[in-house]
């Protein structure tokens, strides 16, 4: 294995670990840790493949600072009313799509299952993470995470970040 291959394998392992940590933070109800996966400023948008195809820029969640991500967590914890539920994020292998100007562009498939308080379980969302990451002192962080859902239909409400 060449040095380049080794570096690529190393990067992919770090990305996979990052996604695993991200998913566990959300699925284990440690939502307060979620903003720390991002740089500040950042861009986090939940949209759909259909909107992306048509060049529509709005998302059902749109945050461009770590503060907005923390506000989202605070609102979900303190203000918003919804039934107790949990998500299970299953994240695919990260595919590195390019590296330039210390930014790594990565595409990763995801699947999110929703578990309601009465035990009912549904497939809630599937799609792709389109990420731009930077290395901040040895830690990879999301400069940009576009959550592009395959589904254009959301059941009832989104209670936890994707």
């Amino acid at each position: 294995m060449s040095a380049t291959d080794l570096a690529a394998a190393g990067l992919q392992l770090r990305l996979a670990q990052l996604n695993a940590d991200y998913a566990r933070a959300l699925d284990d109800d440690r939502m307060e840790e979620w903003p720390e996966f991002f740089t500040d400023p950042c861009l986090y948008v939940i949209t759909t493949a259909d909107n992306q195809r048509h060049g529509h820029t709005a998302g059902i969640v749109y945050a461009d600072s770590q503060g907005m991500l923390r506000d989202r967590v605070a609102a979900l914890r303190q203000a918003n009313v919804y039934e107790r539920q949990a998500y299970r994020h299953v994240v695919g292998l990260p595919a590195v799509r390019g590296e330039a100007d210390s930014l790594v562009r990565v595409e990763t498939a995801f699947l999110v299952v929703r578990i309601m308080r009465d035990g009912r379980m549904d497939l809630f969302a599937t799609g792709r993470y389109l990420d731009a990451l930077v290395d901040e002192g040895g830690a990879l962080r999301f400069r940009e995470r576009m959550v592009v859902c395959d589904n254009n239909r959301f059941d009832t409400l989104l209670a936890i970040p994707l």
Binding site: I46, T47, T48, D50, N51, H54, H56, T57, A58, G59, I60, V61, Y62, A63, D64, S65, G67, M68, R70, D71, R72, A74, A75, Q78, A79, N80, V81, Y82, E83, N152, R153, F154, D155, T156, L157, L158, A159
Partner: protein, 412 residues
């Protein structure tokens, strides 16, 4: 209009009590599709900009009826049932697109942009055999056509020949409130569908219910986007079916303690945004109205929450389910700052909206809570028993207006 035959008997005559069977009963639901959605109402179907050029079409629904809305070569907007006259298959399979004509995939029967049947594959048969009988007239067959009307960039459709003209249906008060927001060409910013586990009327009532807004939605109350103690009021159309509620910002409200004094959950002391740019709104309409929510009976909502603009289309999907089709929009001449402002404020609405997410689940709470209460009555008594415009939002006047219109269409 002639009173339709109703599958049930309405309890009492006033507007302040509503039986729960109205959200559950299958025969009543079928009657609603016939008497309301397919009756003498105007259904919102799309934006005019969705069908800007000749040939541009969108597929949607009028009640449960699949419909194609298309601009014809002559510039007119046509709407017809998305159902082949032959065997009933969908004619158009895409949400939107551009077409010179429509052809059913099943047996290649063809329709023009007015919904006229223009071609039948092998109409004369093959080698002198088969084909349609000589007496078959294409002009006598085709999907049902709807009448369309556009107003301030919105396209409405009706199946009923006896529906009043759209402007008369809306009335001047409502029309002016629509024109206030839709005053120039719009640009769509995003489309989302929210599947709600409740009867369609529970959502429409929720939108009209000015009483709940700052009680259910803690986010609203805390950040003083709308509070019942703020200025504003609710406008109810003469027939009761349409409404517009408004909130006007008043400086004196900043010191009001009415919510805290009553110990209401939505008031959260010390809850502040780390990034307040979310609420960095501007008075783009120049009238101090921070929030205007408007409904047109039976299925349309126009929303202005600060600079967050959207239309919502309510589509019934059986007695206990519905879809809410959101179209977020701005204007063609928005500068980048305004575009970004709208994108940020759209966090307030939609399936993950700081405000709207609760409207997505509260209808389901009623649907499930009242599951065994078909004969019981819900109470719609805030602000009295009339369905007239009021200078307060601590009222259920526009909800009573909904029932006034509903019962008239349904013959209850």
């Amino acid at each position: 209009m002639a009173a339709p035959e109703s599958p049930r008997t309405w309890p009492g005559t006033g507007l302040t009590r509503v039986p729960y069977w109205v959200y559950q009963d299958e025969p009543n639901y079928r009657a609603e599709l016939r008497h309301i959605f397919e009756g003498p109402v105007w259904n919102f179907v799309c934006l005019e900009s969705d069908v800007a050029r000749p040939g541009a079409f969108r597929t949607t629904f009028v009640g449960e009826m699949p419909v194609i809305v298309v601009r014809a070569e002559d510039g007119r907007i046509n709407a017809f049932e998305n159902r082949c006259a032959h065997r009933g298959a969908l004619i158009a399979l895409d949400d939107a697109g551009s077409a010179k004509h429509f052809q059913c995939v099943y047996h290649a029967w063809t329709y023009d942009l007015c919904g006229n049947l223009t071609g039948i594959a092998f109409e004369k048969g093959s080698n002198g055999r088969g084909g349609m009988p000589p007496g078959f007239r294409k002009g006598e067959h085709g999907p049902r056509k709807l009448r369309t009307a556009s107003l301030h960039g919105l396209v409405f459709a009706t199946l009923a020949a006896d529906a009043p003209p759209l402007e008369a249906y809306l009335g001047d008060d409502i029309r002016v409130r629509i024109a206030r927001v839709l005053r120039k060409p719009v640009r769509v910013l995003g489309r989302f569908v929210q599947a709600l586990p409740n009867n369609w009327k529970l959502y429409v009532e929720n939108v009209k219910d000015t009483y709940h807004a700052s009680l259910l939605h803690a986010f609203f109350g805390t950040f003083r986007i709308t509070r019942l103690t703020q200025g504003g009021g609710v406008l109810v159309s003469a027939d009761g079916g349409h409404h517009a509620s408004t909130t006007i910002n008043r400086p004196e409200d900043r010191v009001s303690t009415a919510y805290r004094d009553q110990g209401i959950r939505s008031e959260r002391e010390g809850y502040r945004l780390l990034d307040p740019t979310l609420l960095d709104g501007v008075d783009e309409f120049g009238d101090g109205i921070q929030l205007q929510i408007l409904t047109v009976f039976p299925n349309f909502v126009l929303q202005q929450i600060q600079n967050c603009l959207a239309v919502r289309q309510v589509l019934p999907k059986g007695p206990g389910a519905m879809e809410l089709h959101w179209t977020y929009f701005g204007f063609d001449d928005d500068d980048p700052t305004m575009q970004r402002r709208r994108l940020k404020q759209s966090n307030l609405v939609g399936p993950a909206g700081y405000v709207s997410m609760e409207d997505g689940c509260v209808g389901g709470f009623v649907q499930r809570g009242a599951a065994a209460a078909a004969q019981e009555l819900s109470i719609v008594n805030m602000g009295g028993d009339a369905a007239e415009s009021q200078e307060t939002r601590a009222t259920e006047a526009s909800v009573r207006g909904f029932w006034k219109a509903y019962r008239r269409y349904m013959g209850y």
